[in-house]
Subunit: 164 residues, 2 copies
């Protein structure tokens, strides 16, 4: 996309189909700046959590996608940003046995910088909640606690999906 989605969202708001207008850059989360443009990042994987009934797409910036597709993920390289976009489960209108994205929940990110984030295992942990993208400020430790089972794989749950 050459035209930023944000601009399109504002211009076409009247015709909008679920595209929210975040009309200024959201404030940082845990001191981590908002990763502008993540909506257009390429896919690393998808997942469906049946314990909390959410669907996810896992995206990456260029560095993360290149690392994912070349098996360079333990550790992930400095500069990689991995994003997880989460929606509540809904049923697809015209295919009964398909679960599709319902309400947008949040977008959360891991920013790899082994020096800058040495105190948090080499990652900056951040999340923005809801279509209004409110920064999560409960502390990186909340994120790290949940990710501890995967500390042996550089703290990342995602297994890059197989692609041609």
């Amino acid at each position: 996309m050459k035209t930023p989605v944000k601009v399109l969202a504002v211009v076409f708001l009247a015709a909008s189909n679920g595209a929210a207008a975040v009309d200024q850059t959201p404030a940082p989360s845990h001191g981590v700046a908002y990763p502008e443009g993540w909506q257009n990042w390429a896919t690393i994987a998808v997942s469906h959590r049946t314990d909390n009934n959410t669907l996810r797409v896992i995206l990456g910036n260029d560095a993360a996608v290149q690392a994912a597709r070349t098996g360079n993920t333990n550790p992930w390289p400095d500069g990689a940003i991995i994003g997880k976009v989460v929606w509540k489960d809904a049923q697809l209108q015209d295919w009964q046995a398909a679960t599709a994205p319902g309400e947008f929940v949040h977008a959360e990110f891991m920013f790899k910088d082994s020096k800058q984030y040495s105190a948090s295992h080499g990652w900056g942990w951040a999340r923005w909640t809801g279509l209004e993208q409110q920064p999560f400020e409960k502390g990186m430790q909340v994120c790290i606690a949940c990710h501890t089972p995967v500390k042996h794989r550089d703290w990342v749950f995602t297994e890059p999906a197989s692609l041609p």
Copy 2:
């Protein structure tokens, strides 16, 4: 990604993690040329089909993503290409209640051109199967038959996911 995935896949094949080397452009499917670079297209939606146990990400070229995010989808504009990438269900290694992409099944596409494809409801229907991306050649009618329940929504099942 400024560097084509295909080049990266060849260069880094020894370290590859599920990235196949399609070392030449796959042959057309139903006369439709292979949409190079779809692996880096932005996300329109995801889905999980529980009738055949597959996970999907729905991607789009720039025209399709712009249309999806501005509610311009009935009809979709000429030039839009929608891609559906399908994997068999697998369990995520480190989170028992998460379904994640297993074996890659196929990538299938709808190419909107109301003149060129007027005989097939304004869409070119194509699919490439497996990591080797073998063209599907059983006829567009196979695709159209399954999509008939959504002819009232320009033949597309996907509802664009809500995004900030």
